[in-house]
């Protein structure tokens, strides 16, 4: 009997053992991450983290940031461009011989179609193109085929060509193969339904299959105008649990693992076969008081905002609590962005904060702080709770899921909120328009959500985006940041860093500051 049991166990083990040693397929990059956030892979609609990461591999824009120096734009589907005489337009010459993955040649009509449909579909990222003044009813009058390989792009907004180029380098301005999209259109949706799960671009990869909650499989597009990728395929594999992702990368069943916890990263540091890569991200984390909330008069008092700047344990969070995942950063343009400020004038100093509060007569202050109910936000909020208590300010944390927090903030029902903000495109205006414009005109900027009335600063921010001279423009943004840093209900505290774990044999992976700057085309293994 015993022998039978042992024999059976041995047979089972033999059956399973050779199967479990499989590594990742050759010439294929397997990325273990949670891909549950994907709603759409249509560049006119997809605005989730995983979607924009994938869009960079599937589509090209007219111009794109240089992966090594994101502030420099380089030709992609346009070989050259020049501003029009009035400074409110650009004439693009398309790259000769460029083809989509379908082998359809790139035409000016594709450019007009792509930009026009992104505005007219009016999905999540459409607001980026709206910055140029394009609306559904006027966009067609600003886009024109100017020759067999030329397209003229004009805009009504008072912004210069440099800003327009930044907008046109964002994923929503990806150029879609019109013929393929329209061949798969359903009921006048300009191919939107089909493009949610398929691709019609010219990027280094194309979608082979997308199984929601399971995997997004990309195949190489060897005829991409930007050059053929080195790998045959990329698999973004949905592994929702961080501990499972860690096991996969450790065993070699994944080549890259994202979003591991601080402890997991620490345990993988120095292990053979894997390496940890820290990449600065453009996401900044800030605490914002809501002046428009009348339940708590302390919120309107600038002394509270001033004291709060001395009550964040910046170094404790960045160097101990969430070591490696955050940098101390105290202005709204992240490090690496044009016109960013590199100095951090504030430190944790409860004595100074207490003096500021005492001078203003603020006593027994209690503030409700809304926060996402997950790490690292909750961890940082708990640290704030402890450090603010040192000056007698009681923070009551109100954890909730993301959309619940956003809904509350968009309705200005919060007292204070601890949130993260990610730039939408690679230009200072993306964050300046959020933090330093509030015209009470229905646009719910971050300044509006905090009830911060700033007509003069709003004018200055508008002047900055219209400024053509790069040096003057940068100076304006630095002045605006100083103003927000000194005298606003915002306490910008941290800039995120993404820690990836890669197998040692993976070379050539590049990731930039912005969420969309993920480059798989040069990866070899």
């Amino acid at each position: 009997m015993k022998r039978t049991v042992l024999t059976t166990l041995l047979a089972l083990a033999t059956l399973a053992s050779p199967l479990s040693l499989a590594a990742t397929p050759p010439n294929t990059l397997v990325v273990a991450q949670a891909i549950d956030d994907i709603i759409s892979l249509d560049p006119a609609e997809g605005y989730e983290l995983t979607s924009v990461q994938a869009l960079n591999s599937l589509y090209q824009r007219l111009v794109q940031p240089d992966p090594a120096h994101p502030a420099t734009l380089r030709p992609a589907l346009a070989s050259r461009w020049q501003p029009t005489a009035d400074g409110r337009g650009l004439l693009f010459t398309l790259r000769h011989g460029a083809r989509f993955a379908s082998q359809n040649p790139l035409r000016p009509e594709d450019v007009v179609f792509s930009l026009s449909r992104a505005v007219k579909l009016n999905k999540a990222p459409a607001f980026i193109l709206n910055e140029l003044g394009w609306k559904a009813d006027n966009v067609d009058s600003y886009l024109r085929k100017a020759g067999a390989d030329q397209v003229e792009v004009r805009w009504p907004a008072k912004v210069g060509p440099a800003f327009a180029l930044s907008i046109l380098s964002s994923p929503v301005a990806s150029i879609v193969d019109q013929k393929t999209a329209l061949a798969n259109a359903q009921g006048g949706d300009e191919g939107n339904t089909w493009l949610k799960t398929h691709s019609a671009g010219s990027g280094p990869f194309k979608i082979r299959s997308y199984q929601p909650h399971e995997a997004l499989v990309l195949d190489a597009n060897p005829t991409s105008p930007g050059g053929a990728p080195k790998l045959r395929a990329v698999i973004l594999k949905n592994v929702a649990d961080a501990a499972s992702r860690r096991l996969l990368i450790e065993q070699g069943d994944a080549d890259i693992a994202r979003d591991l916890g601080v402890d997991q990263i620490a345990s993988l540091q120095g292990k053979p076969g894997v390496r940890v890569q820290s990449i600065p991200s453009a996401a900044i984390d800030y605490l914002a008081f809501n002046i428009a909330n009348n339940d708590n008069p302390a919120l309107k008092n600038p002394a509270l905002w001033q004291a709060a700047r001395w009550l964040v344990d910046y170094q404790g969070v960045a160097n101990k609590l969430l070591k490696g995942q955050f940098l101390v950063h105290q202005s709204f343009l992240p490090q690496g962005f044009p016109a960013a400020l590199d100095d951090n004038p504030y430190k944790y100093d409860p004595t100074r904060a207490r003096a500021i509060l005492a001078k203003a007569g603020l006593k027994n202050v209690t503030i409700k702080v809304d926060v996402f109910n997950q790490p690292p936000f909750l961890n940082i909020a708990q640290s704030l709770q402890a450090s603010f208590a040192a000056a007698g300010i009681r923070l009551e944390l109100v954890p909730a899921v993301g959309s619940q927090v956003y809904a509350k903030v968009r309705a200005r029902q919060q007292q204070a909120v601890f949130l993260s903000w990610t730039p939408d495109y690679f230009d200072p205006h993306t964050n300046a328009s959020a933090f330093a414009i509030n015209r009470d005109d229905g646009v719910k900027t971050l300044a509006w959500r905090s009830g911060w009335t700033i007509p003069a600063l709003s004018d200055k921010t508008d002047a900055a985006v219209a400024e053509v001279n790069p040096a003057r423009r940068a100076r304006l943004y630095q002045e605006i940041q100083r103003e927000v840093q000194r005298n606003s209900p915002f306490v910008v505290a941290f800039q995120a860093r993404e820690q990836l774990v890669l197998r040692s044999n993976v070379k050539g992976y590049v990731q930039g500051l912005n969420a969309d700057m993920v480059y798989f085309d040069k990866v070899v293994k």
Binding site: A13, L15, A16, S17, L19, S20, L21, A22, T24, P25, T28, D36, I38, I39, S40, Y47, E48, N122, K123, A124, P125, A126, F127, N130, K196, T197, R208, S209, Q211, P212, H213, E214, A215, V217, A233, I235, K237, N238, V239, A240, D241, A243, S244, L247, L248, E250, Q251, D253, A400, V401, G402, S403, Q404, Y406, A407, R410, D424, G442, V443, K444
Partner: protein, 343 residues
């Protein structure tokens, strides 16, 4: 012998059962719909994100039908459902029906293997325990049952992965198949065991088994605990009845008594326990599916819940509800067939 009903009475009973099924499902839908709308999550914000303009946000609300009153939204949903349309999932952008056709087979396969393992293992343990109550086998069975019940399933899953996948390489890692099969996997029913057998693909079959056995065992252990506890009690009760004493007096062997007399008398109970256990497994084991990256209905429903994705929540609830009701009905019918006392 089964009592025969005249045809008209049978038709009436069938119609009654169908009406009861439809009413149950309608009640389930209504309740789930109301609960989904009680959640303080804004589904439109979930779709367009925090940065979107007010115009895009309003367009999304309109597109999702959220600008209509709740009763109107529900009536529209039921009307479309009656025409076979489960709607479009807001979190995957895909028709809910096609999402469910992908997610449900993954759960069905895992749950079926786990139920078979749990059922057989549980019955075996119950037999061992009931054979010598208070003896070492009974104590061992109790320890296993308590272990299966009380150990958190996600912990067991992670420890299982750590030992059998990472250390001993007896099991494959998270996921349903190795990545290489994402290219070659035959399109079929979604039940990979069945599909690989039908395609005669031995390599795929071995890979599917290597991925399946560990999560199925983890789930089976939990289900085994329930079956073993209930069946032990049922078997002990039967073993103390007079007909067993009579059989022993006639000189029948213990195993013969158990197999020939006791087990058939507890078969109705076994069917009920198994049906309930299977139904709860088909709900989708969220934690197991998360740890093992199993793209099943549990994870689908959880993701939908966090996104306030009402069409997906309702679709998944409908499938789970249907499984529950049908399995209960099946258990009733089987119990009636197996146990004359219940007729």
């Amino acid at each position: 012998m089964i009592r025969r009903f005249p045809p008209c009475q049978r038709a009436r009973r069938a119609a009654g059962a169908l009406a009861s099924l439809l009413l149950t499902l309608f009640g389930l839908l209504l309740f789930t719909f109301l609960l989904a709308h009680l959640a303080p999550i804004d589904p439109a914000l979930q779709v367009v994100g925090d940065h979107a303009s007010e115009a895009s946000y309003a367009a999304a609300r309109h597109g999702l039908g959220l600008d209509q009153s709740l009763p109107r939204q529900f009536v529209h949903y039921v009307w479309r459902l009656m025409h076979g349309d489960l709607g479009i999932s807001r979190s995957t952008g895909q028709p809910v029906a096609s999402d469910l056709l992908q997610a449900f087979p993954a759960t069905l396969e895992l749950a079926t293997v786990a139920m078979l393992g749990g059922g057989l293992g549980g019955l075996g343990l119950a037999l061992l325990a009931a054979r010598h109550p208070g003896g070492w086998s009974d104590r061992l069975a109790r320890v296993i049952a308590i272990f299966g019940y009380s150990v958190p399933i996600f912990w067991l899953g992670l420890i299982g992965l750590l030992l059998f996948y990472a250390r001993w390489h007896w099991a494959a890692g998270p996921g349903r198949v190795d990545d290489i099969f994402l290219y070659t996997r035959p399109a079929g029913s979604g039940l990979l065991l069945f599909d690989s057998l039908r395609a005669g693909d031995g390599e795929l079959l071995r890979n599917v088994i290597a991925h399946l056995w560990l999560p199925a065992t983890v789930l089976a252990l939990n289900s085994l605990a329930g079956v073993a506890r209930v069946m032990r009690a049922a078997l002990l009760e039967e073993l103390h009845k007079e007909y067993v004493t009579g059989a022993r007096a006639r000189g029948s062997g213990e195993w013969r008594i158990v197999c020939r007399h006791v087990l058939p008398n507890t078969a109705g109970m076994l069917v009920t326990v198994l049906a309930l256990s299977y139904a709860s497994l088909l709900e989708g084991a969220v934690l197991t599916e998360t740890v093992f990256a199993w793209p099943g209905i549990g994870r689908y429903l959880t993701t939908a819940l966090f996104a306030a994705d009402t069409p997906a929540i309702l679709g998944a609830t409908l499938v789970i509800g249907l499984c529950f009701v049908l399995l209960n009905m099946l258990a009733d019918v089987l119990a009636r067939l197996l146990d004359p006392r219940t007729r």
